[in-house]
Amino acid sequence: MEINAKSADRNLLLELSGELDHHGARNSLREVEMAIDAALPKTLVLDMAGVTFMDSSGIALILRAQQRMQLLDGSILVCNVPPQARRVLDAAGIGRLVTIR
């Protein structure tokens, strides 16, 4: 699990890649939070294009990021979700809580 951060004009783009399971997400939660705290973005984009596998650990990560963004009065967008990860998000009804594109 790797996270690549790009920040400009108070927009933060986090590109996630690899396997987003419990093992892979362990340090990623902290990394995502630190990236948000450093950039204080208005908009956070989580780009999932490189995610090769995701289970409910990814849901926890997305919800945590969303909570963090709510504290900052910002918004979150999840994009380029591969089909397997998309089914996980849909099964959990995450589309009602977070914008997925």
Partner: protein, 149 residues
């Protein structure tokens, strides 16, 4: 009542998180002989991941214990998965199966059982506090063109 399996495999490993990926890959390799679609294979991997992660996180929170995964191929193109631990068990299985319920803190979403239920056809959870938990899942794969055997 146990249906006779046409083929089966038993995996046993310590409850280390690095084995989550191993369990997914091993089950998916074994299930490949059923000629599943990519979607079916991904559904199976996801369900295995959730069940094994539960055992690793919840059954053995402060220790390393044994996790077993049994995969059985049953008549009618049915895949049966049993994930078993001898950990601390679940006091209230009903409650544990509710969406968003978790005792795992902020790094868990509480959606594990919901995902297993939605990705597999049948989910049975048996647990005895202090003795361990057994999660049984079944999934019927879509019939495919036969290529012999």
């Amino acid at each position: 009542m146990k249906t006779k399996a046409t083929n089966e495999v038993l995996l046993e490993f310590p409850s280390r998180s690095s084995n989550e990926g191993f369990a997914r890959a091993a089950v998916s390799c074994f299930a490949a002989q059923m000629d599943p679609t990519l979607n079916e294979l991904e559904d199976i991997k996801t369900a295995v991941s959730e069940a094994v992660t539960n055992a690793i996180v919840h059954a053995y929170p402060d220790a390393i214990g044994k996790v077993t995964v049994r995969v059985r191929i049953c008549p009618g193109n049915v895949l049966e998965l049993t994930v078993k631990d001898h950990g601390r068990g679940i006091a209230d299985v009903e409650k544990a199966r509710e969406p968003l319920f978790t005792t795992g803190g902020e790094e868990r979403s509480g959606m594990g059982f919901t995902i297993m239920e939605s990705f597999m056809d049948k989910l049975t959870v048996r647990s005895v506090p202090g003795r361990g938990t057994t999660v049984l899942m079944r999934k019927k794969l879509a019939p495919r063109m036969k290529s012999g055997k």
